[in-house]
Symmetry: C2
Amino acid sequence: MIAESLLESADLPTHERVYRALRGRILAGEMAPGDQVTLRGLAEALGVSMTPAREAVRRLVAERALEMTTSGRAEIPTPGLARLAELFRARELLEPELAMRALPNADKAAISTLRAIDQTIDGYLAKGDAVGYVRANTAFHTTLYGLANAPALMALVESVWLQTAPVMRRIYGRLGTAALTDYHEAALAALASGDTTALADAIRQDVVQGAALLRQVALDESDL
Amino acid sequence: MIAESLLESADLPTHERVYRALRGRILAGEMAPGDQVTLRGLAEALGVSMTPAREAVRRLVAERALEMTTSGRAEIPTPGLARLAELFRARELLEPELAMRALPNADKAAISTLRAIDQTIDGYLAKGDAVGYVRANTAFHTTLYGLANAPALMALVESVWLQTAPVMRRIYGRLGTAALTDYHEAALAALASGDTTALADAIRQDVVQGAALLRQVALDESDL
DNA sequence: TTCGGGTATTTGTGATCACAAATGCGCCCA
DNA sequence: TGGGCGCATTTGTGATCACAAATACCCGAA
């Protein structure tokens, strides 16, 4: 069942609404690797015809949020360790750049917004709410990078997030809080003091920590 | 008119054939920024119905090779200087990584293939054949990065290339050969000697030179 | 009980159609 | 002759349908 968020359906084309609904669920980690998406199922769940459902699915396949089986069925990909390492490496290369570009545009209001988001993250971590955690963590990074005014770079990073989101939930769902260094705090401090290098490093380490966490979880469960 | 390459139509789905045909033309620089792509036009040119044409267009829009106007029409984007700078920065960050990963897999045969491609590039430069140049230059990078066995990173880079291809033709079409340092030679030498750092640097400089060239051309013609 | 085969169902693909909006062209009037 | 209005045409959108392939299910035999 796809929860159609009626609020933001402001007269957008049908295929766009379908796209956003499905994309939102994937980004929030509400779909697990291997989950199948059928055209008729998606269409019926949102009360539309197959045509816009097909367009939405194709679009997400192009962004690699979905994968096509040989028979043409769409499903959430199950990336192996090598693939995930690539994706985290891409994040490590691209996200510090976005953070650095965001810094000059981060006024007091923006910083306090980010600080508020970071606190909700801590809340979800304490409660062990994996879906909430993934959603808030995404919001933190998205909000920060949004300040960079760099849509092309942003699009690349979003494509990567779309690919890692489904496994992130499993990772944080299993490990709970564990021993995580809060690099978001360091990033906020660097942002406030205007220290570009420190900011880039905090973001890079945040990503590297995520990658390390992933590797560790992958060791526990042989399959991934 | 879309030239349907009959050779590689080996029983692929129709929408896939349409996608490849259009994508190939864009990558080769045969389409200029602002060119419009209509669903019916594309469909008729390839002798198919609107449905697969629409899927192909949506896919290319998702990859940002095409852009949608507010009225839903698709056209080749006309990126401004800021957008192009972002894209070249992404290349600068990602491509050295791919080159480094390619190095261990570059045997003698691969290196001589690359060397052959590089010589055809020089040929096109001498003849002033911009389309040929773009195509061969793309082949050089694609062949090198293909050795990296890093499909996720590769996909990101290909998305960037798809976005820069239409303006590259204009750039090389105008400047001709000019005073270009051949960093491909340096890359080949580094590849042969197994020098990872030198290889990464050669590729990075190749990209940086492209960006600088772009900036210079943009200064000449005020509009871009 | 378990394995294999055959059928019923599900599913993607591509074509066609009705509709509305955007576009563009030509005509008319000042 | 130049500019603006109105209509014909083009174009994207979404729904529906026929078809073929893949999948899943069930029943019977070993």
